[in-house]
Symmetry: C2
Subunit: 341 residues, 2 copies
Amino acid sequence: MVTKAGARTVLFSEPPSISTWANAVSKKESEGPIGKKFDIIELDPTFGQKSWEKAESAMISATLMKLLEKAEIKAEDVDCVFAGDLINQCTSSTYALRDYKIPMFGVYSACATMAETIALASLTVDSKVAKRAVAITSSHFCTAERQFRFPLEYGGVRPLESQWTATASGAVLIEKTKTAPFIRGFSIGVIEDKGVKDAGNMGAAMAPAAASVIKAFFEDTKKSPSEFDLIITGDLGYIGSQLLLSLMKMEGIDIEKEHSDCGLMLYDRKRQEVSSGGSGCGCSAAVLTSVLLPSVQKGRLKNILFVATGALLSPMSVQQKESVPGTAHLIWLSTEPNDNN
Amino acid sequence: MVTKAGARTVLFSEPPSISTWANAVSKKESEGPIGKKFDIIELDPTFGQKSWEKAESAMISATLMKLLEKAEIKAEDVDCVFAGDLINQCTSSTYALRDYKIPMFGVYSACATMAETIALASLTVDSKVAKRAVAITSSHFCTAERQFRFPLEYGGVRPLESQWTATASGAVLIEKTKTAPFIRGFSIGVIEDKGVKDAGNMGAAMAPAAASVIKAFFEDTKKSPSEFDLIITGDLGYIGSQLLLSLMKMEGIDIEKEHSDCGLMLYDRKRQEVSSGGSGCGCSAAVLTSVLLPSVQKGRLKNILFVATGALLSPMSVQQKESVPGTAHLIWLSTEPNDNN
């Protein structure tokens, strides 16, 4: 049952759980600070395919198969899947999922996709539309570079404020169980556009949307940052994270102690040349499914806010000199199903 | 409350209603057989904008404003909106909605988007996540042509099996009321890909997915085609419709008497040079919100199955010689909230 907690926040009275999770990454991600924690590490970024897009599809497919294997279920045991990615017309996830015959809802929230898919999938489980629902997303450095920036062969110089699109995919299985991590609720993103026109500085474009959804969550629930062990944004990177902390302080909410960012956890900025940090739907999906969910499961982190952030630009909107709108969806994950414990 | 009726079908025990609807079209649509039934007819396909993509955004925005005006509410009275379109990274809907500050879920199902948005929006209302939810989509002939086929200036010859992307947008407001049309339930699409590689023949690519979801609905609900006044597909056009009827007959289900197609209703194929018929997210959205919903409201059609169909290709998948996967989501609309009447 849903207990609506305010304008943008939904809380579950009997929260569904994330029962299983899986991920796949490539070489660079495996060399980062959390590189040993992934399920599948494919050193060949082509994943044995003839194009980067087919490689991304193969990575999604491998992630889904790993998820099903860990959960000891088959594709037909999944009632619905929510999926999306960064590539035009969600090519990567569509072509990955066409072989599985799972009822599918396609979503698009750019790099905020992992949170949108979890929010909607948890709603289908809570409302008994699905006994088991999967949320899955991905990104690939090489598909994103040639779609949003330059073909790799061009060798374009990356500005310091840019971010490195992760070659990574993450998936979660949501169902009603009595075990953590519980999905206590979510807050829905609102598009924020402060006029940032530099498509190379997506952290700045997304920070206002992250600030907006975090503020909405605290207003709606009357909770405070200190009640959470971690408030982790999807992929604001270094510059976006600094902006977020400033924006939150301007709103009178200090999250400096609790805040971290998936884009700063996936790579070592000093050693790995990723400029402002990691990005891509797969960045937050991979950090969630390798570090965050196990920590909540084991009680090392009791309550976290997972805030995936997305820059809703397209190559065409950039060519037409449009600014970059941002969005961010928030998921509250907890060791406990309610506040009574 | 959701009564799960089977593998892919969801039924509501107390169905939400579509309380209000609105649409906008351009010149060619206004000259078709249902041309007098639209809310907004903008003869200038640029909608006063400098690019086709901005034109499509302006059309979506006009549709949403008309919807709010007809419902006598403001944007802040809407709890969430589900939106998507055909253009890369859903540019048209994102840029249209950024000014409204409505909590937004982005979706992508190609031309099946109207049904996906209605399914998910109805679920948010049924589960009390939203008191009022909006589902909105669009397509524009000129944005689609240059993205998926050729720039208009090239003057490419259109094959006879091709379809004409509608310049149209449609939106519905979903809430709990005691009046028709009621959303009795929905069936979720499964991706079907029979290997059709001709991106100019989308009707053929989508027909198997439509057949799959219609069959699933009848299996799940134990109902038969004769219990429905109309089974209307999104935009299979002439060729896709013929294929659908054949596929259904092979499954032992005859829907010839009940079947129609939005792509065959929007334009006059003999007079308007649209080859196999209309297509685009906006095609089924415009037919739904101009003809179908008023007919259900007034009881002229008591029970209809609205089956929006989508070809999940991208310009890149076509370049890489991939086949075209299809999907289709089904919505059951009814004059009555249950079978007891």
